[in-house]
Amino acid sequence: MTVLQEPVQAAVWQALNHYAYLDAVFLAERLYAEVHSEEALYLLATCYYRSGKAYKAYRLLKAHSCSTPQVRFLLAKCCVELSKLAEGEQVLIGGVLNKQKSQDDIVMEFGDSASFTLSLLGHIYCKTDRVAKGAECFQRSLTLNPFLWSPFQSLCHLGEKLDPDQVFRLSSVALPPPSVSPAQNSSHRLDTALMETPQDTLELNRLNLESSNGKLTSDLSVSYIDSSLISPETGSLLANTVSMATAGSLLVKQNKPKSGRSLLGGPAALSPLTPSFGILPLEPSPGDPTYLQNYSTTMETQSTAPNKKSVSRISQSKSVFSQSGNSRDVLPIPFNQTQTSAPHTSGSPQVLSTSMSGPPNVQPRRSSRLFTSASSTAKENSKKLKMKFPTKIPNRKTKCKSAKTSNSSNLNESLDILRLDSSLSLPDTKIPQYQRAAADSVMALLRELGRGYQALCSYNCREAISVLSSLPPQHYNTGWVLTHVGRAYFELAEYTQAERVFSEVRQMESYRVEGMEIYSTTLWHLQKDVALSALSKDLTDMDKNCPQSWCVAGNCFSLQREHDIAIKFFQRAIQVDPSFAYAYTLLGHEFVLTEELDRALACFRNAIRVNNRHYNAWYGLGMIYYKQEKFNLAEIHFKKALSINPQSSVLLCHIGVVQHALKKSEAALETLNRAIRIDPKNPLCKFHRASILFANDKYKAALQELEELKQIVPKESLVYFLIGKVYKKLGQTHLALMNFSWAMDLDPKGANNQIKEAIDKRYLPEDEDGDSQDSSVMTDADDTQLHTAESDDVL
């Protein structure tokens, strides 16, 4: 039923590729009016969805029967976006009345897009409280398509223990087949391109060698993997791995433009080389990879010490690709897979230079990168290639030299999707092997990232930091990685480190909002109000529709003690995204600060409803019960938080104090010891330990602890206050009074009643001293400054 040459469809896809949604929608509507076929319906719905109007696509598809899997997938996607989860589920697996399909059915039915379907289904299950089924779906989706990150991420969030090594593995799965790219429909054909690979390759090889050999000392070889993975709208990208080859030959295959491939061409219409164009032929990814990717890699033949040890593993398959201008069908480039030889293992990372005319990079947020203009013919491509090489060569040259020492500086950081073409049965048998190796390298990167991410989600922060830090610099210095490193430091309560890392993220990717709420909390802890208000202003100007920027704004005002305004902003964050658990938690904390404990309780409970593993919310509940003196409940909630995040010394400290309040002093001391072992830098643990020792009449030990604490935090008035109390108990009133006066001096604004009380209490052997201390209590700073001066002398 697919017509080979469908100029209207081609035009629509071209418009979509150029983000001209108005044009695309208009044409698609005319086409649909004319033809009324299911493909035309799908095309129209896709146009609506991509232009951001999911509701239009939804209503359109609802009104007509959907039988083909891709239409049902799109409909389910619209349903989920509009929060109609039950309907989405029904669309995917059949309703209550029909027999519900199992995962295997889905796999069979959806074929190539089964992984995405299962991912979507998993998402639906998780949102509707069927976490076990959701986890299953995610697992299945990952086995089908290990290039997907979002199921892995969701599984980590659910607390599932995955083994990234097992997950990100291609062995059991054939390399994803190329998917039909809409681009192909318009003017190029993937399969023809593939078929041409050998000849073109040779030509290009020659081409390349001519241009490059004369100029470079080291060869470049670029391999390019064409992964026909459908990139879903979520834009899961595949890291490309390009292994460098020693004997480089830049093999670029160009697709001859072919017009008139039908969009929804079924497999039958396709060449045997590209068998399964898949259920979702209109999915973008093939388009993306089909961009001609020219890249040059400089390869150091000499073994250069890798910057990082693990680079050797990954670097060999790292490549940076740049898209060439309009090159459409990207060609799988066989490359010399001699990378396994020394240069690679030496970890010489590839340095790729972007091709000069880099069109926008690949990561398609939406699958709109399908086509490049139809005008790019093979000839043009080759012309471009030729043009590109010379221009690149100087780059390469310079890179050669510098690349030896530092790859990262030269590395272009764009990783494009590579098309993986497993079905190529080219005479050159090395090609699939190379591609396979390249894909394996991607997997290696994903494994590392997966390990780091999983460690972070189970709060093994040290391990997460070490795993992520061992990534090669070009990957380490990206927003995502650094954000998670920053978060790991945050969870360890090393706020200064976290702040440093996050400020790097801000410099690097000022458009990044994910993780900024953690940054704002870090600044809140460090009480850096200037930085926090700058961050808040920047983010709220940039994006008013994301919850993170409103959380940052709320934190900013909370630091300024304007709790009502902070509450307003946190509520706004919740409005913008009701599934953002942290906003509820922050709102709860604000309510605690304004003493509205009931509303705070409700907020924390909401946070837990959204995300069961949000340990901050459990902590918040514990705090409220502690304030209400329901110590048992407090302990239970703190312990629950601890079970999620076992390495938090602050939590342990709180549990210790609660246990002490419950009169379980032994257990309290034990807990505090544990806390100090985990994080020796936490002064509060020592302080509370000292206070428990004091309460148990172990004055000497308490004093010793406090003396140590004095060294660590010399300006903390509480320390002197407690020392004073200990001395008072020991009967050394003179020392006690001295410490109390120090404590008061260090706390000019507080005029803490407790300190004053401690001084006033009962009898003092020298009443004059007592009186003089009394009268010096003032809220004005001026007088205390005098005392401060005095006590400085004393000190």
Binding site: T521, Q527, C653, N682, C685, Q754
Partner: protein, 186 residues
């Protein structure tokens, strides 16, 4: 302070709030007035705007009643009065009473102001125990105005409660950032 010298203005309460030692809790209370001119009532008294004011419209003493839902500790009151703008409407003698209800009020503070020109801080600490007063209701009575004016203007009133921010353990607040960082998980 019944001295002929003018009453000096106190610090802006906003700054006090920023120290984190006190918190404004007027929003938790029900406010009522003994009398007011239309358009110059409770809203103008509580709107955070020093240009708008409450103008009474009856016989002295003029009363501002602040009733809380539950027994609340109150540390201080801040009243903004400005002789230059209000002249004979400026209160000169104020009495603060607390209690459980209207029939149970007892005077705790009384002060006289002479040509005030800003915020007046009235500390509501129990003289003997040096603790803030804990009460259901506060009544501010204006007993006399400058130049024997009949009605009074009051521009703003704020009520402050002490903040016990010790998050854990019965200790006073910590003073250094190092301690405060570890005090709580947010």
């Amino acid at each position: 302070m019944a001295t002929p010298s003018k009453t000096p203005p106190g610090a802006n309460p906003k700054q006090l709030e920023r120290t984190g030692t006190v918190r404004e809790i007027g929003s938790q209370a029900v406010w009522s007035l003994s009398s007011c001119k239309p358009g110059f009532g409770v809203d103008q008294l509580r709107d955070d705007n020093l240009e708008t004011y409450w103008q009474s419209d009856g016989s002295q003493p003029h009363l501002v009643n602040i009733q809380f839902r539950r027994r609340t500790t109150v540390k201080m009151l801040c009243i903004y009065a400005d002789y230059k703008s209000d002249e004979s409407y400026t209160p000169s003698k104020i009495s603060v009473r607390v209690g459980n209800n209207f029939h149970n009020l007892q005077e705790v503070r009384s002060l006289e102001m002479v040509e005030p020109s800003g915020w007046i801080h009235i500390s509501l600490m129990n003289q003997r125990t040096n603790e803030p007063i804990s009460t259901f209701m506060i009544q501010i009575a204006v007993l006399a105005n400058h130049q024997n004016g009949r009605d009074t203007h009051m521009r703003q009133i704020k009520v402050y409660t002490p903040v016990e921010e010790s998050s854990i353990g019965k200790f006073p607040r910590c003073t250094t950032v190092d301690f405060m960082m570890y005090r709580t998980i947010r």
